[in-house]
């Protein structure tokens, strides 16, 4: 069965630095991969999606890369701010690109210190 691993449970960085989060997966070839942000006690909020034929996607201070050979996605937050502190979830789309059946990783909790 497909498996997703996100790097260390917690990541602590200093304000202004770039945060890099890793998502590795096995036993699957997803049509696309998604990144979500989740604050404590809240539902996940969609951030970015990258398709299998895309190498990189950017949105403001966010950048996602997707290497289907390595089966890995990297999620970068540049010029990080304390407000970026949250848990970030990686998710693989289900069969035929069905997001409704996405498989999620356990997330990486990012803390940005002022």
């Amino acid at each position: 069965s497909q498996k997703i691993e996100q790097n260390s449970e917690a990541l602590n960085i200093q304000e202004g630095k770039t945060a890099t989060l890793t998502c590795n997966y096995t036993n699957y070839s997803p049509a696309y991969l998604q990144w979500y942000r989740q604050d404590p006690g809240r539902g996940p909020v969609f951030l970015l999606l990258i398709r299998e034929n895309e190498k990189e996607k950017r949105k403001e201070r966010l950048k996602v890369t997707f290497d289907t050979t390595l089966k890995q996605s990297l999620f970068h937050i540049t010029a990080s701010q304390p407000a970026d502190s949250a848990t970030y979830l990686c998710a693989l789309a289900g069969p035929r690109g069905n997001a409704g059946k996405s498989t999620f990783g356990d997330g990486t909790t990012l803390t940005v210190k002022p």
């Binding site: 979500y36 006690g41 539902g43 996940p44 969609f46 069905n98 409704g100 059946k101 997330g107």
Partner: protein
């Protein structure tokens, strides 16, 4: 525009009881998915419904059931509650085309926090 709404937001039950959780998707979204999120873990897929039909089921026992109504709202039912059912139950809606290919974005509600004592 209203987002995905879930009710109740919090509830406490005892072992053996039954619970019903409700979800209203974003207007125009016909696909509703349910996820269970245990503390410290990512959301785990339970069900997907589209046009009132079950389109997928995760690895959950038969104590879990769901349905979707003509207005695309949905209910998740859990019978014979166990302590391990304590979790945040998330509902997510999305657009879903007939051939299952969709935009790829899930819109989540704030969840229903279930505590089983």
């Amino acid at each position: 525009d209203a987002g995905v709404t879930q009710s109740p937001t919090h509830l406490i039950k005892t072992r053996g009881q039954h619970v019903t959780l409700r979800c209203s998707p974003i207007s125009g979204h016909k696909s509703v998915s349910w996820y269970q999120q245990v503390l410290g873990q990512g959301p785990q897929f339970i069900f997907q419904y589209y046009e009132k039909e079950e389109r997928g089921r995760g690895n959950f026992p038969d104590r879990f059931s769901a349905r979707q109504f003509p207005n695309y709202s949905s209910e998740l039912n859990v019978n014979a509650l166990l302590l391990g059912d304590s979790a945040l139950y998330l509902c997510a809606s999305s657009t879903l085309h007939r051939d299952y290919l969709n935009t790829g974005e899930l819109f989540f509600g704030e969840g229903s926090r279930l505590t089983v004592l």
